[in-house]
Subunit: 203 residues, 2 copies
Amino acid sequence: MNNGKVVVLSGPSGGGKGTVVKALLELMPEMALSVSATTRQPRAGEVDGREYHFIAKEDFENMIANGEVLEYTSYCDNYYGTPKKPAVEATEQGRDFFLEIEVDGALQIKKRYPEAVLIMLIPPSLSELESRLRQRGTESEEVIAKRLKRAAEEIEFAEKYDYIVVNETGKIEECAERIRSIISAEKNRYCAMKETADNFTSR
Amino acid sequence: MNNGKVVVLSGPSGGGKGTVVKALLELMPEMALSVSATTRQPRAGEVDGREYHFIAKEDFENMIANGEVLEYTSYCDNYYGTPKKPAVEATEQGRDFFLEIEVDGALQIKKRYPEAVLIMLIPPSLSELESRLRQRGTESEEVIAKRLKRAAEEIEFAEKYDYIVVNETGKIEECAERIRSIISAEKNRYCAMKETADNFTSR
């Protein structure tokens, strides 16, 4: 049986990642979704194991020391990262393991696991992103400006990604289908199929 | 607009290429199908431009000299090859261009056009191929032995291909879907999307 793929999705905030992931999970309900670990305190309404695995700082540092995180970062004196074990378990069972994380974490994963598939989801353009952020009507001008700057910075890293998918306005399903096709295609890449081809004459 | 992809399918005879291509064309009716050129005489029932473009030897040699073939070979004093023009026209119109050719021609194309997508369609195993060939009941033992030997040789070249797809018995549609996913995914690879990503901030 084929192993599942580790699939990483990144992309600018406001680019519609959440909606696309929801549509993708409807297409691929068997896919395992990563839950990050963090050392920060849970906020009201957050449930351990749903939003995050909330763990002690010492435990997180032990996980880092033992190579038990796929990637991590620290922010405001707290760690945030992806535990390795669920990824190993899912992929060994043949399930795909899906992470929605920032560029920095995605590149850490690609470095350690070159077979991970990195997908960047981008809006059609910076001006389209700007109007989407404005339409929400909830963000201040300052926040909008900050997000647009950050988006432009993130997209500089596109060349480190395997795939770029444009989230065209009003085409969520098409976008999710594209991501599903990418995951399907990756399972037929020569590297993933090498064993099958090598064993051909012996079966 | 994205250019269409040049997609090459190869694989052992008896592996079901014809049936899979038919199913694929139903999924992707807009795809352009390559028609090879040859200098051999048409056989009874063959129509110029359908089975082959039948052309004069001198014309074929001019096409080679002018770089107007994507790949070619000579066999029994006749040339066989793929004219370049239909591929260029189709892909510039955004249509995918599909070729079903042998390993040797496929590798010629990959050398000249690294962005071409090479897919090898293989049966589940050599013994499964053997029973498929036997079930036809039309091939002599000698022909079966020759085909199996040739199949094993062809699969040695699998590592030069981008993708390997196994044509599981009775799963033609699934197989065609996998190939469609591969073609779709290739259009989202970073190299194909570079311009979109580069232009992001200017739009």
